[in-house]
């Protein structure tokens, strides 16, 4: 399941080029990424005090989230948020953000 979630993230990233039915089948990483925008702005283009990361690579975004998850990086709220996702999901979320930003 973990590997599957990750590949779904990749699929979602290229959604507009593949048959939509392939993306809309199971847990949708794109809806989860959309949910992040309430704090970070649409596609992580934050207009205010919240960190934006629309110019960051998938590796960088994933690294920060995994550091929050391990407790290596201190947070006010993200430590509580990342606990809601598996490492594979965080990886897929990072890939989806980066894919949107490169468009």
């Amino acid at each position: 399941m973990k590997g599957r979630t990750r590949s779904l993230g990749l699929l979602a990233a290229i959604a507009f080029t593949v048959a939509p039915a392939a993306v809309h089948a199971a847990d949708d990483i794109s809806v989860i990424v959309d949910a992040c925008a309430g704090c970070h702005g649409t596609d992580a283009r934050s207009p205010g005090e919240m960190p934006g990361f629309s110019d960051k690579t998938a590796e960088k975004i994933a690294k920060v989230m995994l550091e929050y998850k391990s407790g290596e990086k201190e947070a006010t709220i993200m430590d509580r948020v990342v606990k809601g996702y598996s490492e594979a999901q965080l990886q897929a979320i990072a890939e989806e953000f980066a894919a949107r930003n490169s468009r």
């Binding site: 847990d27 809806v31 704090c39 207009p47 948020v81």
Partner: protein, 429 residues
């Protein structure tokens, strides 16, 4: 006003070319190649977000957003307006970007009646149209008379300020006009209601204002509950900053209000104690917005039962109800919940219009409260589907730590403002 049928409506807005160009075939409910039409009713956090995200997901879907107000005043940050920290323009949102950037047909009108079987609606202005799917995000309406004496006329003397705008300004002006040494009564409702921590943020920011301007005054919270959202964090902050200013009276100590008198500016408890206030903020019991009640979308609770995967009404198929009006528990009735649901419903509606399987959604809620402009606290929750029910992910989310240092609270206050900037952009721009 001209009656617009769907046929002419589609013709006005651009026909079938875009759908054909994108290779979309088999649009459900639309015979002969017309573009599917989604009507979004209500332009708050839920409706605005749903309209925008449907267009982002599938530009072949036509979206009409019907919202009475040309300027929408958000409840989030309205307490800072009441306390004189921000002006009312700070919480004003407009619809021009939704129209211009996303090609959403924004109509400022009020939906008068809906025929769920025929999938048609008529507005107060006389416009009628049909829809393939409707997203309804009507917010709340008030159960007038549930507290004896509290009706719409009483709300002009004892504002609820639980829909932002004129009521927010009214409460701010009353507070500004109050003499030093006055008493502010805040009467929150029982659960469930819009924005569970809201009354306690309001008490905090009113105390912030009074401490600086009218320090001999007092805030009395008369509560029909024995516990409230983020309670530990609020009480910690009150002890630190507003110990002599805020008093909370829970249900167990006769906090429940049975009746009010707007003429006498008094409220009476269940056991008959009469409290006089110089400013009285009654936040009455709530139900789904009027159009949802009128359309028969509510159950005995006053809110709208939905399939939590698609937010489609379990009473009237074809109408998806999101935001405060829907029964989305364990998600709270908050702007962030509505925004998150708007995105999930966008994905569901786009899939359903194509006759595809609905993607399994995930949801989130983050909510900041201010106890002072430099003192913020938060709660977060992550939700996923457990079968066809929404469930909070265990071990994730929760509230800010108690006992945190000043810098932590200050940072959360800064993030609260950043949160507002982001969610406003994400919903309306």
């Amino acid at each position: 006003m001209t009656k617009i049928t769907r046929r002419t409506f589609n013709g006005i807005l651009g026909g079938v070319g875009a759908a054909a160009a994108l290779g979309v075939t088999g649009c459900a409910n639309v015979g002969g190649g017309g573009r599917p039409h989604v009507v979004v009713v209500g332009g708050g956090f839920g409706g605005a977000t749903a309209a925008k995200y449907i267009r982002r997901r599938d530009p072949s879907v036509q979206v009409t957003l019907i919202e009475p107000s040309e300027t929408y005043y958000t409840c989030p940050f309205s307490n800072t307006v009441i306390a004189g920290i921000n002006r009312i323009n700070f919480i004003a949102q407009k619809y021009n970007k939704l129209a211009d950037k996303y090609d959403i047909n924004v109509i400022h009108d009020r939906v008068e009646a809906i025929d769920p079987a025929k999938r048609t609606l008529v507005t107060a202005g006389g416009t009628s149209m049909s829809y393939d799917r409707m997203v309804m995000s009507p917010g709340i309406s008030f159960k007038w008379g549930a507290i004896d004496g509290y009706d719409e006329a009483a709300a002009e003397r004892m504002p609820h300020a639980w829909n932002a705008g004129q009521q927010t300004e009214l409460l701010r002006k009353q507070l500004a006009a109050m003499d030093d040494g006055g008493t502010v009564l805040i009467c929150p409702p029982k659960n469930p209601f819009r924005c569970p921590p809201g009354p306690y943020e309001r008490a905090s920011l009113i105390a912030y204002y009074l401490k600086r301007n009218k320090p001999r005054s007092k805030v009395l919270i008369l509560d029909p509950k024995d516990a409230f959202a983020k309670q530990g964090l609020f009480v910690e902050g009150w002890d630190k900053m507003y110990a002599d200013l805020i008093e909370w009276v829970p249900a167990a100590k006769d906090g429940t209000i049975a009746s009010v008198s707007a003429a006498d500016m008094t409220v009476e408890s269940e056991l008959g104690e009469v409290h006089k206030g110089d400013v009285i903020n009654v936040i009455p019991p709530q139900q789904a917005g009027a159009i949802a009640v009128r359309t028969g979308l509510t159950d005995g609770s006053g809110f709208c039962p939905v399939d939590q995967m698609t937010f489609e009404s379990t009473i009237h198929p074809g109408i998806h109800v999101i935001g405060d009006a829907s029964i989305a528990s364990p998600m709270p009735k908050s702007g962030y919940s509505a925004n998150s649901q708007g995105k999930a419903v966008a994905a569901a509606v786009v899939a359903m219009l194509k006759g595809q399987a609905v993607p399994t959604p995930g949801f989130m809620n983050t909510c900041y409260s201010l106890l002072a402009p430099d003192y913020g606290i938060s709660v977060a929750a992550i939700y996923r589907m457990d079968g066809n029910k929404i469930a909070g992910v265990k071990g994730a989310g929760g509230v800010s730590p108690t006992g945190a240092q000043y810098q932590f609270r200050k940072k959360e206050a800064d993030f609260a403002e950043g949160w507002y900037a982001s969610i406003a952009q994400d919903s309306w721009a």
